[in-house]
Amino acid sequence: MTIERFSGAELLIKALAELDVEYIFGYPGGSVLDIYDAIFRQDAVSHLLVRHEQAATHMADGYTRATGKCGVVLATSGPGNTNCITGIATAYMDSIPMVVLAGQVASNLIGGDAFQETDIVGCSRPIVKHSFNCRSVEELPNVVAKAFYLAETGRPGPVVIELPKDILIPDNTAPFVMEKDVKIRSYNPNVKGHTKQIKKAVEKITKAERLVIYTGGGIVIANAAEQLTALVERLNAPCTNTLMGLGGISGLHDNFIGMLGMHGSVEANKAMANADIILALGARFDDRVTNKVEKFCPNAKIIHVDIDPTSISKTVNAHVPIVGLVDVVIDQITAELDAVGHKPNKDDFKEWWSEINKWRALNSFSYETSKDLIKPQQVIESIYKHTQGDAYICSDVGQHQMFAAQYYPFKKPRQWINSGGLGTMGFGFPAAMGVKVAFPDSHVVCVTGDGSIQMNIQEMSTCLQYNIPVVIVALNNRSLGMVRQWQDMIYGGRHSSSYMESLPDFVKLAEAYGHVGMQINHPDELDSAMEKAFSIKNRLVFVDVLVDEKEHVYPMQIRFGAVDEMWLKKGEKV
């Protein structure tokens, strides 16, 4: 019997199918045409053609953030690959699994400055979890399996596979052999928390008088939201989420005290500053959370749970470091609470809660409405109302991102999708497309700004081709609002290059791409127009909302201050 042999391109697609990959997000070019040909000749894996490779990475990323499944990107050598860099970095910063299939010139040309040759492995080295230079057709399926394994396990992240053209061509063949049960001797991702450390943590938790549970993207990634909620309820502790962690506990939960950090709620930042014990779960004490590190929560003992040891005691020293998968560690903590006889009691932290409720009463997210100007906050509230709070909200970067995080309470994890770590303008729209591809029956909204949307606006064409009817809501303030806010607050109001003086007519633009465009410019129209926008199914709707261009995002931490030193509104501090 002869064993069937396949080209590298065929092996690649077979391997992807074997790993249950549904979609490849990509763009063709010379070095990967054999892969495109192999895609054409099968139907297990679909390919979605974007209009710019950066969008392919964000689309894959959005798909992954919503589904938990590793996204796949395909790009050609040279410019195709370098166009992926921003998307790879975006995924890397937020620990999102991604496999990037990077075409390369033929092996015998590598190193010779061949046409469209770039060292993509070298270019991407600081922003990947790992990368592979695939050098033979035989090893290809196993390299793919390894790449997925690395991307998805431990602290997830992007993995690049460089594929030289000569291992993809039809006359270079090998049998399909793939070891799905991957083992890598230098990599052991399944970590349980150290028992002694768990005991120490529980001792601190049960003795705490002012406990705060501070959680990040790790809870979302680990699908640990239910466990977290149970732990929060059992301890009756206040819980705050980072920008990446929103939805880790329902935004409507009584114990949720809002997002913390630069634009967090007063009660969240105050609670952190006054805590005696902070239980940090899958969060990394980013500088957008801590404000000045030296002034960060001086009186708190910190229990820090993270799968990545480098995140622990990197910026803020942990008193009880626990390295482990956050879902596993929460179970361990819960079991230890049982073991020491801890019983839930709704009167726990009574005094602490009364203090927190005083901060809550400051209502730090309140804002003033106006008779003739639409406030950006109102727009988010209107989106919430017309999507029943169930939409996937995919945001770009800027003021609109903060408003979305503040005014749309996320009931579930994975509902809030944004570039938290890298802050990539241009992320929101393609990310929303990736989500819509995965969940065609759900409301998928891209909340964006007049600046950000123009960084990947060409993807409206992709949406028409594949019928991806997301709703784009642009909070159009005719400026790079977040930049302008900083210029107002820190640079004496000198608006250097923060205007967008020649905005296109977004309505016409959407129409030109074959979609529906709407503009809203008066508060009285907001609700009815939003209702209409969300009632249109199967068409992409671009809602251009002209909002008050002077609005700032508040509260805002005061630069170089402690975590709870904030501007409440213009000229008013807490």
């Binding site: 080295r125 600081p126 790992h130 230079n133 890598i184 480098t310």
Partner: protein, 165 residues
């Protein structure tokens, strides 16, 4: 504080560049770096001499460990260990007096003259960093140094302790 890290990693293309990239990307210092395959050909061993306070070293160790290719990392300076470096020094040896003097210094330091030219001696010496530095100082005093090549430090723990898979 000066530290010596021993790193055992997969002997694969790109592995070294990941280590070096990590150090530059995170602004960690590299004083010297040695790399070669081990007796087990699938493994390489890197010795990095670096410096930084405890917090920095903790990050370096963790970050290096996090690289997928890396199997083990040890801080040799934590325990009794042996450090060696080799140096080749090319010096001017124009006249008898200098030649005798260079030979004498080499003998005192237990170095060897490994190449002799009309006006040139090349001296080889092994030892720890301090010994090598003072050797170079002394030679420099006596004659003109034309070229110095140091291998960088390699090290191994004393006693039973071994860095193996």
């Amino acid at each position: 504080m000066r530290r010596i890290l021993s790193i055992l990693l997969e002997n694969e293309p790109g592995a070294l560049s990941r280590i070096v990239g990590l150090f530059s990307q995170r602004a960690f210092n590299i004083e010297s770096l040695c790399v070669a395959a081990t007796d087990e050909p699938t493994l390489s061993r890197i010795t990095i001499s670096t410096f930084g306070d405890d917090k920095v070293l903790e990050q370096i160790t963790k970050q290096v460990n996090k690289l997928i290719d890396v199997i083990k990392v040890a801080d040799l300076t934590e325990r009794p260990h042996i450090e060696r470096e080799i140096v080749l020094v090319k010096v001017l040896a124009m006249n008898n007096k200098t030649r005798t003097e260079v030979k004498r210094i080499a003998d005192i330091f237990r170095g060897d003259i490994v190449d002799v030219g009309k006006q040139i001696y090349t001296v080889q010496l092994t030892g720890d960093e301090d010994k090598i530095s003072s050797f170079i100082d002394v030679l420099n005093h006596e004659t003109e140094i034309i070229e110095v090549v140091r291998s960088g430090t390699v090290g191994i723990a004393r006693g039973e302790k071994a860095l193996r898979v």
